[in-house]
């Protein structure tokens, strides 16, 4: 189970202090433009990886070589065993029911991509609302919201989500809700920290002097500035979402069949380790997609921060 990804240095955390004075980093060259050269190889590679899975997800019916749910007669060996990878026409082998792994993986990308986008966006929206309101309004609203957020952050929300799923059943809505529940708190705190920082800037003061009310300031001034952070978070959180859903699928509470999901596929392979490809292949897909998102996210982080060079001790 992965730990939620983190953005940059933890200075923004309440209660943490910098023991020593601000770093005297050498002036680094910041990319002024979003040229591919300036960003570096990592985000490009990541985007390419994501693109592959995106295409697979969108065009699975066209691209998949076989029906992902059909149990092919020749998908099993003479002794009834699944075929290993490299047994044409099932390029990545078959599972215990004779279904083509490659096609299943490609369809599984649909779940992964959906999960990477929709609950992710919802969670970030919630984080934005909570964090920005807390940061902009201050007072008891700020205290209340942030205490609530911090408490939620500490609790084992995954367990809570499992309880929800058990009682309410693993419908799509509940699954999405659970994913949002587990992941909204950390970005909320980051948004809060950034809002506090932005609150003190000159243009917000100017807007206030011109008589703009707080909601207007939030929407028109603060939110656009948060854009890049939210984008970075979106990419980092996408990986987490995919992993979370895989976890739910592994427990049997994710997106339900007949849609194949990578997590459920791993679950199907767990008891038959002597046919390791059954659980290895979906895992590799998870790793690749996750790495793709991380490459983009950390690449963006590096591009927007100042690079820290090595110090010769």
């Amino acid at each position: 189970m992965s730990v939620p990804a983190m953005l940059g240095a933890p200075d923004a955390l309440p209660g943490s202090t910098e023991l020593y004075s601000a770093p005297a980093a050498a002036p680094a060259a910041r990319p002024r433009r979003w040229t591919p050269r300036a960003l570096g190889a990592a985000p490009l590679l990541g985007t390419a990886i994501i693109a592959v899975f995106l295409v697979s997800a969108l065009f699975a019916p066209l691209l998949a070589p076989h029906d992902p749910n059909y149990q092919y007669f020749d998908g099993l060996s003479l002794t009834g065993e699944p075929l290993p990878p490299g047994s044409p026409p099932y390029l990545l082998g078959t599972d215990t029911l004779g279904r083509d792994m490659l096609s299943r993986l490609m369809y599984g990308a649909r779940v992964a991509v959906f999960v990477a986008v929709v609950p992710n966006a919802l969670a970030l929206f919630l984080a934005l609302v909570v964090g920005a309101i807390a940061g902009a309004y201050g007072g008891w609203l700020e205290t209340g919201l942030m205490r609530f957020t911090e408490t939620m952050m500490v609790l084992p929300t995954f367990l809570l989500a499992l309880a929800l799923l058990t009682v309410l059943g693993p419908g799509l809505g509940v699954v999405v809700g659970s994913l949002v529940l587990v992941s909204w708190t950390y970005p909320a705190r980051v948004v809060y920290g950034e809002t506090l920082r932005l609150r003190e800037t000159a243009f917000v003061e100017a807007a206030r002097a011109l008589g703009a009310g707080t909601p207007r300031i939030i929407v028109r001034h603060i939110v656009p500035q948060l854009g890049i952070i939210l984008l970075i978070y979106f990419t980092l959180n996408a990986a987490t979402m995919v992993l979370l859903e895989a976890g739910l699928g592994f427990l049997g509470f994710g997106v339900q069949p007949p849609t194949p999901s990578w997590g459920a596929m791993i679950n199907q392979g767990r008891d038959v380790l002597f046919w390791p490809w059954l659980m290895l292949e979906p895992g590799i897909c998870l790793a690749l997609l996750g790495t793709g998102f991380y490459l983009v996210g950390t690449g963006l982080q590096r591009a927007t921060g100042s690079r820290l060079y090595r110090v010769q001790l």
Binding site: V3, P4, P10, F158, L162, T166, A246, F250, L251, L273
Partner: protein, 306 residues
Amino acid sequence: MGRYLLRRLGAILLTLLVVATITFTLTVLIPTDPARTIVGPKGTPEQLALVRQRLGLDDPLPMQYARYLGDVTRFDFGYSYGYRQEVRDILVDRLPYTAILAAAALLVQFGIGVPLGLLTAARADGVADRLTLVWTMLTISLPGFWIGLVLLYLFAFRLPFFPLGGASEFRSVVLPALALGLPGAAWYSRLIRDTALQNLHSEFVQALRARGISARTILGKHVLRTTISPVLTMMAIDFGVFLGGAVLVESVFAWPGLGLTAYEAMQRADISLLMATVLVGSLFVLVLNLLADLARIWIDPRVRLV
């Protein structure tokens, strides 16, 4: 300090109250009738009515709620028909295993994460740094349970170094601890690397170097201290995540802890057990969180008592 502790304990109680309310609400929302489950499909209406009365299912909701809270406070979580045991007893049996697993996983996490983080900070942009970066990215992208399965496959199935699950020997904890701790180790190694590297650029480290203090002392004594603080802050979130991960890892390795309990409860729709697990898990996490905060304050007296 006394006031701080009181405030924190109050917050914990309040949080548990909220969690208990949620679990109670969920219990009420179950579509199936618990009385029917107990009595079975062949039960007569009279038996049903009797069981309902016994369980207090006909009482008004607020009264059920109050009763629930009262029970929970006394650690009476009801009876599990699936296990034929008091839920409390089940949890008492299982909780220590999760504690052991969590401790072992923390050991993996920091035993690998901290030295690796400091090393890659000291030799930033070098070979070790780049390799670690790749390894980190891959490991964070992998679910812990899958890492567990792969470890099981390689080191228990193919090469019988470790048992195929269960908690029969000391060795049994190794693979699950690795599965639970490796993603965190990768993540912390990056966090520590970034924090430490920032620190290495500070004027303070410049002053240390100017005085001729050795690299080992700078890293091991001074930089380590600074990086511990944000690490402890992050650890607070970690415990909750660990518990979630434990559900998955324990189910892979059949490790008899709280996580496996939750998993089994889910499979059997054993609601009282599941809810109790959520409550006890929350308590566990909140207490650990408080301890971590106290440790942080002890290490760095300048941390504000927020």
